[in-house]
């Protein structure tokens, strides 16, 4: 409750602030608000999504110049120019995002630097935008017939907008789409295998961040009543990133903290440093740069987590509410072939990791894929699940060819998997990790999430995740951070996540590694129950006792090829298999 009280006190202070403070501080608070709106977009992009942009100032400029030009030259209402600015910004962000985000993560920031510089020079050179002198005479905003002429009046608009988008961003992050966005930071491989369209998620957050910046620019133009290119230069774009990083790049409130800190510090340093050095100039950048390096070396999460420690959270845990169960997929008929791999070959350059592999899995059976290390089992898994497609050959799933489909499209058809190297998001709770598995069972998008109109669906998704966690015997860990669990249990979380997708084929890559004896027994019981319910299971495993006690059929691989196939007893007697595992007897 302490945090709640603190928040209410903060909002109350914001509300009475302009009534008590002198003009100078109101202006400062206005700027902090405007900067925080931009920094909040960077929190979403950098802290949550693991991407970054140095060109946010250019998006601010786009918002400011659009309204300045349209209101002064064409006399358009500022409320319409806001829409125009947002539309232009969205178009630019979608375009930039679509050409950079397909490649490595560093192309987006480089692209945004270049675009930020281009736009700055464009603002400064285009005649109808006033060149370097800019545009003056931007009209004041009027709200319900009341003109916001002074900074004190404008203050309430800026901070109301800021608080609304803080709330919307928080809502967005605490939702199905939000989990998909947060999954980006853990690498796109897992997210894609859970059905998340990761390029789309990346473009969405880049666009949202750009729209926030545009909104800030629109407010700026009507507060200042004139625009010129200087505040939209790349240096300002870098400063926005500094605000987000120093404040706490993974926390929405960090944006406000960072914007406040940097703005006040800048004011103070700009007064003080030129006197120390005896010459004028923007020396505050030296301090900001060093501060950034220090923060990234010593406190990569920024200052907000340090503030949070002063106000410990209460321990009352949210409970997963009962909700209507999600609809189930209709399972294929028991004994029918679910997965069929024909002559699948995978080459990495000159290395043939899988050579003309054939295997099939039926509904209601456990098929085990075994073989010495390096035999190509995980490669086969990646080929089947579309994570790393096969070079040639056919993979059919429920009668449909899938070898050319993306991992997320295969997931949508009812195949779900775990990873040999656990891919959980360590700071998220077990419940949220498992809920990522149910991603494809919800439809509501990020707009619904921001407006909280998806709560019914969200409750059903979380309820489903909780059911799968209980089914896997991890109920006591439901709210623990996934990274705090022992490795064996993390593997079980991966299985729960795969089950949350309601698959009809489950691919398990070494599920029993790192489990203790009793845990292995429990896992075996779980897999038998799933099989009895009609699930098809394909598993890679090294523990022979576990495999032989569980599998209905076994395929043995060596050097990327199939060595043997059959019932567990047959395979165990097969001389070729014995030779592969134990060495030949001359």
């Amino acid at each position: 409750m302490i945090r709640m009280k603190f928040l209410l006190a903060f909002i109350a202070a914001l509300a009475v602030g302009p009534l008590l403070l002198p003009e100078f501080y109101v202006t400062l608070l206005n700027y902090i608000g405007l900067y925080a709106i931009v920094a909040l977009g960077l929190v979403l992009l950098t802290g949550v999504g693991g991407l970054t942009s140095f060109g946010q100032a250019a998006f601010v400029g786009l918002g400011a110049y659009t309204t300045a030009y349209l209101t002064t030259v064409h006399g358009v209402s500022p409320w319409l120019t806001l829409l125009a600015g947002l539309a232009i910004t969205a178009a630019v962000a979608l375009f930039l995002g679509s050409i950079t985000l397909r490649m490595g993560g560093h192309y987006l920031p480089l692209g945004t630097i270049a675009w930020g510089i281009s736009l700055y020079f464009l603002f400064g050179n285009v005649d109808f935008l006033g060149g370097h002198t800019g545009i003056t005479g931007v009209p004041a905003l009027s709200l319900f017939g009341f003109e916001l002429k002074s900074g004190r009046e404008f203050y309430y608009l800026i901070w109301a907008v800021l608080l609304v988008i803080v709330l919307a961003t928080r809502n967005l992050l605490d939702s199905r789409e939000g989990r998909a966005i947060r999954a980006l930071k853990g690498g796109t491989l897992m997210a894609e295998a859970m059905g998340v369209n990761t390029p789309r998620s990346k473009i969405v957050i880049f666009t949202v961040a750009a729209l926030y910046a545009c909104l800030s620019g629109w407010l700026y133009a009507h507060l200042q009543r004139f625009v010129n290119p200087t505040p939209f230069a790349i240096a300002q774009g870098i400063e926005y990133l500094f605000m987000a990083v120093i404040g706490g790049v993974a926390h929405v409130w960090g944006a406000i903290l960072g914007a406040g800190l940097i703005t006040i510090l800048k004011q103070w340093l700009q007064d003080w440093l030129p006197r120390v050095f005896g010459q004028s100039g923007n020396f505050e950048v030296i301090v900001f740069g060093l501060l950034m390096i220090f923060v990234l070396h010593r406190a990569r999460e920024g200052l907000w987590p340090i503030v949070l420690r002063l106000f410990p959270a209460q321990n009352a845990r949210p409970r997963v509410a009962d909700a209507e169960p999600l609809p189930r997929r209709s399972l294929p008929e028991r004994g029918s072939v679910v997965l069929e791999v024909r002559d699948a070959t995978k080459r990495f350059g000159g290395l043939v990791a899988n050579n003309a592999m054939n295997l099939s899995v039926r509904a209601g059976e456990v098929m085990a894929l075994i073989g010495p290390n390096g035999a190509g089992k995980s490669t086969m898994f990646n080929g089947i699940s579309g994570v790393d497609p096969v070079t040639s050959g056919a993979v059919s799933f429920r009668g449909e060819r899938i070898e050319t489909l993306a991992a997320r499209d295969i997931a949508r058809r009812g195949m779900s998997r775990t990873f040999q190297h656990v891919r959980l998001l360590p700071t998220m709770s077990v419940l949220e990790n498992v809920a990522i598995g149910a991603h494809l069972r919800g439809q509501r998008n990020f707009v619904h999430a921001a407006l909280r109109t998806e709560r019914v669906e969200e409750a059903r998704l979380l309820h489903e995740a909780a059911l799968q966690i209980e089914r896997c015997g991890l109920a006591e860990h439901m709210y623990d951070a996934a990274g705090n669990l022992p490795l064996g249990k993390q593997r079980i979380v991966e299985i729960a996540r795969a089950l949350a997708a309601d698959p009809c084929l489950l691919l398990l890559d070494e599920p029993a590694a790192g489990l203790r004896y009793l845990e292995k027994q429990a896992l075996g019981d779980l897999l038998r129950r799933l099989r009895d319910d009609g699930m098809a299971i394909l598993l890679v495993e090294h523990d022979m006792d576990f495999v032989m006690g569980l599998a209905d059929r076994v395929v043995v691989m060596e050097f990327g090829e199939k060595l043997a196939e059959g019932l567990p007893e047959e395979v165990q007697r097969n001389p070729a298999v014995l030779e592969a595992y134990l060495g030949g007897v001359e």
């Binding site: 950098t46 693991g50 991407l51 970054t52 140095f54 930039l96 050409i99 950079t100 397909r102 490649m103 490595g104 993560g105 560093h106 192309y107 920031p109 480089l110 692209g111 630097i113 270049a114 675009w115 510089i117 281009s118 020079f121 464009l122 050179n125 690498g187 796109t188 491989l189 240096a235 870098i238 990133l241 500094f242 990083v245 050095f277 010459q279 100039g281 923007n282 020396f283 505050e284 950048v285 030296i286 900001f288 740069g289 060093l290 950034m292 390096i293 990234l296 070396h297 990569r300 790393d388 190297h421």
Partner: protein, 345 residues
Amino acid sequence: MDLQIALLLGQDGITNGAIYALLALALVLVFAVTRVIFIPQGEFVAYGALTLASLQAGKLPGTLWLLLGLGAAVALVEIALALRTRQMRRIPSILLLNCGIPLLLGGILFAIPPATLPLAVQVVLALMLVVPLGPMVYRLAFQPIAEASVLVLLIVSIAVHVTLIGLGLLFFGAEGSRTPAFTDMSFEIGDALLQGQTVLVVVASAVLIVALYFFFERTIYGKALRATAMNRTGARLMGISATMAGKLSFTLATLIGAFSGVLISPITTIYYDSGFLIGLKGFVGAIVGGLASYPVAAAGAVLVGLLEAYSSFWASAYKEVIVFTMIIPVLLWRSLTTRHVEEEE
């Protein structure tokens, strides 16, 4: 535009392009070895040019104070580490390397008025003042977080860039400098006038590129850098220190940057913050090569130089807009032709 102007612009473009090509190579090198996107490269270009200009003007270059300051900071960090790990024997060599040599350089500058020295010696002095800054920056800013993600390294890189810009203003002041041309020779080929300066820059760049080629192909350190670029873990298992590779790649990049600054200083007036745009043009070239291919990066950089020269004739106000917008078709083309496979981090 007649042929003569076209040729003149072409010359300008190739001169600048050769310098951008050098920068592009250094950027590819640093990225491949350390995964750092080396934004501060541009500041070393400016430092190189401004240091040479100070020496020629008979002033004490501000770089000296920067070198003494950074050297002292590195020495402090290293000595603290040596004390913690009880390796007292390392302390004298730490002090000599990071404080002694900069002090010695300072002493030389005080003893001999540099304005009287021949140009080549001035250039060497300028390089000696600027180049050690590179590995020092690596030691202080990047080495402690060498294993961080590309994103974190990029943000630190930007922070270093911003800091160096501020320090550049502090030590060199706001006025720009331009050094006299290295040579006023010119050759007449048919109708066209070939300037000696152009020839000099292109030849110097070519020599440096060839020297780098031999360094990478023939020397053990060059091979160590290539090995690190190809596979960091594998190189470490073979006994190649990642720290050594990082410092060496930063030293080379700074050398290339400062030398580019020396080459460009007679062509345009350089201010403390001019380096950023120059470095970024190298980047546009490097991106053409996908931050991986040296020859394509160099070709891309020459293309940037030519584009810049011709656009300064047709639409001089939009020169920067055109050059930096060129990155968009390049990115578009790269994103359509490369299939990005996520690396295991």
